[in-house]
């Protein structure tokens, strides 16, 4: 099922949680809504589910306007961060709940419901736990049951709100791979919310990066990582270093020296240079480079992080070098970013 979000705005007590958001989700796609808390990602998910009504705008399921449909009519599978399993029901009853509450004409028989619950338990690799209560399961198992319960109603869309947020790192990684496998096997259009970029980049076909109620960028993991389209995405996804620069005649300057980078499309004036700390080349002689004094250097896993002090402005940035690289021993390092982007300084106000 395709989902189309069209110019949706949502206000809570006049406070806009989402401002004019549009998003096209293709059928069968696995999409991540990624952003810091307060970015509106959960609100967007709840709007798609029908747990909230948009203040303005439309949500389409396929060609059909679903904006005024209730959550029951939308037939979505929703998985909550804290599982929201019914604690007084067994695992099998939890999974069968969505079938049991159907109107009698569409309700499967009891035996059929039981069979379906077992099937889904097999799918989520929890066979044999039918009779357990949620309190007798681990966090990871509970979330699998929650997913099985959501899938039992054969939803058009699967929506997951921070599905692994309450689990520890080991289980998260395991479940991440497992969710990808389930998605590939069942082909549900799936949208999940996360604030964990690693999770989003690894799992999703496309990542929707959100900030302050707006969509900053939509793209594959490669796209949002390699070509961030805003300072926010640069700062939020992956490591980044930034330096205040000046643009003059398409040349990028740091204080009074051009650094050998050109930005012909930018207007003259103050701007900020962004690059990845590892995406640099070291230079032996500096005719057009960024040069700095080594202020600190520390070993981080397989690389060495070097902190440089740049120019008179006492700006500090980080670059990453292979461990044992001789440059780390020097007191001055000259380099040029291989991949970078300059954003003009935003107009105040």
């Amino acid at each position: 099922m395709e989902v189309r979000v069209s110019n949706v705005r949502k206000e809570f007590d006049r406070f806009p949680a989402l401002r004019d958001v549009s998003l096209d989700i293709r059928s069968g796609e696995l999409i991540a809504l990624l952003g810091p808390s307060g970015s509106g990602k959960t609100t967007l998910l709840r709007l798609i589910a029908g747990l909230e009504r948009p203040t303005r705008g439309t949500i389409f399921f396929g060609d059909e306007d679903a904006s005024n449909r209730t959550i029951q009519e939308r037939n979505v599978g929703f998985v909550f961060q804290h599982y929201a399993l019914f604690r007084h029901m067994t695992v099998a009853d939890n999974i069968g709940f969505g079938l049991k509450v159907r109107p009698s004409a569409k309700r499967p028989t009891k035996a059929e419901i039981r069979r379906r619950a077992s099937e889904l338990l097999d799918l989520v690799q929890l066979s044999g736990l039918e009779k357990r209560y949620p309190a007798q399961l681990s966090g990871g198992q509970r979330q699998r049951v929650a997913l099985a319960r959501a899938m039992a109603i054969e939803p058009k869309v699967l929506l997951l709100d921070e599905p692994f947020g309450a689990l520890d790192a080991q289980v998260r990684r395991e479940l991440r791979r497992w969710l990808r496998e389930i998605h590939d096997a069942t082909g549900h259009t799936t949208i999940f919310v996360t604030h964990d970029q690693e999770e989003a980049l690894e799992l999703a076909d496309r990542v929707v990066v959100m900030s302050q109620g707006r969509i900053e960028q939509i793209g594959t993991a490669d796209e949002v990582y390699d070509t961030p389209n805003s300072p926010f995405v640069y700062g939020f996804i992956g490591e980044s270093s930034s330096l205040p620069v000046k643009v003059e005649d398409g040349q990028v300057w740091i204080s009074d020296r051009p650094i050998g980078l050109t930005a012909p499309e930018l207007p003259d004036g103050e701007a900020t240079l962004y690059f990845r700390p590892h995406d640099i080349e070291l230079l032996d002689e500096c005719n057009g480079c960024i040069a700095g004094t080594v202020a600190a250097s520390r070993r981080v896993a397989g690389t060495r992080r070097v902190e440089l002090e740049i120019g008179g402005g006492r700006e500090r940035i980080e670059i990453e070098l292979p461990v044992g690289h001789p440059a780390a021993q020097k007191s001055r390092v000259a380099f040029r970013p291989k991949r970078w982007k300059v954003f003009p300084k935003p107009v105040e106000g």
Partner: protein, 294 residues
């Protein structure tokens, strides 16, 4: 005042562990105080009630109970409880649901209103009904015209009891439902359940223990309420006398055995409630902890 030797431990910081765990003597003193207090103020009166009721033998006790007005009072008390407890169960659940699951203006005001019966003297609650429905009131003539009798009759007693016992169920449920949030309900709705199915299959099982506590407390108070009922009842023997009122009348007539016999039945009903609650806690302790703790 209890033990002067405690002070050095409190002052010297190297003995910090002593400062938080009391010495055996202090602990014994505290426990003795608690048990002594309970014995004198709760257990002793209860024993006296039963002792007085049976002071002239079992025969006199049953004679006192098996009297027309007394039986009428017991029947009336049970009737009032049977009507007002279910009413407050419904009102309480509705109010708690509204407060815990929705955001709306005037919520704080509503919570204050629910507490009103606790903060206002029951006598005043009774007087309010007299002012509202009495012959001198605005509604009085209209009621009389239509032959509706509220004051000095069962409807008045029920109204007063409902008013006084309203907070029990709501007060018990509001914190519980607030803590549980709306996640389970949202999950049920997303699975296609309608509002009623959600309430019946999800909300109610989640709150059933809290609800039961509230109902038991509400019931105990409904049977025992004196002040408000006293104002609106009119004390007509055999007609509008509830058990607490009947106890007072018998006592004022120097009929000690009769008064204490009825009192012991009333106390017995309260004890049954308590025992029921304790039994349920023993039987379902783990489950109660689970639904409350999550």
């Amino acid at each position: 005042m209890a033990d002067p030797e405690l002070y050095p431990a409190d002052i010297h910081h190297e003995h910090a562990s002593l400062a938080v765990t009391e010495r055996p003597l202090a602990r014994a003193a505290l426990m003795a105080l608690a048990f002594g207090f309970l014995a004198i103020f709760l257990l002793l009166p209860l024993v006296v009630v039963f002792e007085q009721a049976f002071s002239r033998g079992i025969g006199a006790f049953f004679e006192a109970i098996n009297e027309h007005d007394t039986l009428a009072a017991i029947r009336l008390t049970l009737l009032v409880a049977v009507i007002s407890v279910p009413l407050n169960l419904v009102f309480g659940v509705a109010a708690a649901w509204a407060i815990a699951k929705f955001e709306f203006k005037g919520k704080a005001f509503l919570i204050t209103l629910i507490d009103l019966p606790f903060s206002v003297s029951p006598v005043i609650s009774g007087l309010v009904y007299v002012l509202l429905f009495g012959t001198a009131s605005l509604l009085g003539p209209w009621l009389k015209l239509h032959g509706i009798v509220i004051l000095f009759a069962v409807p008045g007693i029920v109204l007063a009891t409902v008013f006084v016992t309203f907070p029990f169920v709501a007060r018990e449920l509001i914190p519980l439902m607030q803590e549980q949030g709306t996640g389970d309900e949202e999950a049920a709705l997303s699975l296609g359940a309608n509002g009623w199915q959600t309430f019946w299959h999800v909300t109610l099982p989640n709150i059933k223990w809290g609800l039961l506590y509230g109902v038991l407390l509400c019931n105990a108070r409904a049977m025992g309420e004196f002040g408000a009922v006293s104002v609106v009842s009119g004390h007509i023997r055999g007609l509008t006398n509830t058990m607490p009122l009947h106890v007072e009348i018998l006592y004022n007539e120097y009929n000690a055995v009769g008064a204490f016999a009825v009192a012991s039945v009333l106390a017995g009903l309260a004890l049954v409630t308590l025992v029921l609650k304790t039994l349920l806690e023993l039987r379902y302790g783990a489950e109660i902890a689970a639904t409350r703790g999550h």
